[in-house]
């Protein structure tokens, strides 16, 4: 049996900078829309948390997550949303989903998280419900 030298193994280092940014839109004093983009997964979950921390600290406690362009939501992405939820729940805040794409709905239904994150057909309908 062949034995591999440890020197032949290496942990992967990857550059995920192209996944890092999220666009946000303030729609009221305490409501922020986050356009998730194509992917929310392990590559940009930390960037998502960094994006939402400052607005939460500044008093935004209602978040509308727009998944209209989202092809990937994985466990790390869902974990980042849970992190946001725990922060805003401490202030009686809310996280809602809008425009959930089919891959996102699969994860939402698998984890039954629709019980915590109300689902809306559009950002506008979510906004109307929150105001």
């Amino acid at each position: 049996m062949l034995a591999l030298s440890p020197a032949l193994f290496f942990p992967l280092c990857t550059n995920y900078s192209r996944f890092m940014s999220f666009s946000t839109q303030s729609v009221s004093d305490n409501t922020l829309v986050i356009h998730i983009g194509e992917t929310l997964d392990f590559r940009n979950a930390d960037a998502f948390k960094e994006t939402v921390h400052a607005p939460v600290d500044a008093g935004k406690h209602q978040f509308i997550l727009d998944f209209s362009d989202t092809d990937v939501l994985d466990s790390s992405g869902l974990g980042a949303i849970f992190s946001l939820y725990r922060r805003v729940a401490a202030h009686d805040g809310t996280v809602v989903f809008a425009n959930t794409s089919e891959p996102v709905r699969v994860v939402v239904e698998l984890t039954r998280t629709y019980k915590v994150f109300p689902q809306y057909d559009s950002v506008e309908s979510a906004q109307a419900e929150l105001t």
Partner: protein
């Protein structure tokens, strides 16, 4: 068994989007009753599912399982140089079979799976990937395939309606 997908990747950063696009293209045409449905989890009658017309939701579960496993390897595995991952998807009469072979050092999946429940917490920020795989699949395993390779295998039954408790 129909082999619908068989690709090898050495650029692991680019592997996930490439797998997603290629697997979507390789998946057989959607059953007409699902084509117009907006409900991702709508259930194709089990009797109508086949290797030629597997349920669309099965494709989503396969995509999710492959993503979670490759993401897990990318983040945690120690690979040989150059890293290599081979992904195969086969469709049989009642399930999709996933095989992912890698040249990492591997790990003991069963011991990780057996301890997951003990550390479960509501709204977890991490540790859900393997639980998602476990929920979506039957017969999951990760074993040494040769002196240089380990292989993950799992099946996603066409009539599967998985769920996992993260809310408590």
């Amino acid at each position: 068994m129909n082999l619908i997908f068989d690709q090898t990747y050495t650029d692991l950063e680019g592997a996930l989007p490439a797998i997603r696009t290629a697997l979507r293209a390789a998946w057989p045409s959607t059953h007409s009753s699902e084509a117009n449905s907006s409900d991702a989890a709508s259930s194709l009658p089990e009797a109508d599912a086949s290797p030629e017309q597997p349920p669309r939701r099965t494709r989503h579960y396969v995509q999710l399982v492959v993503h979670e496993w490759v993401a897990n390897l990318t983040r945690h595995a120690t690979f040989a140089d150059p890293p290599r991952i081979s992904v195969r998807v086969l469709l049989n009469q009642d399930a999709a079979q996933c095989e992912i072979t890698d040249n990492s050092r591997g790990f003991d999946l069963n011991s990780v799976l057996s301890t997951m429940g003990a550390h479960a917490a509501p709204f977890p920020e991490s540790g859900m990937g393997l639980r998602i795989i476990d929920a979506c699949t039957n017969d999951v395993s990760y074993r040494r395939a040769s002196a240089l390779h380990h292989r993950f295998t799992a099946s996603v039954p066409y009539d599967h309606n998985p769920w996992m408790n993260v809310l408590f």
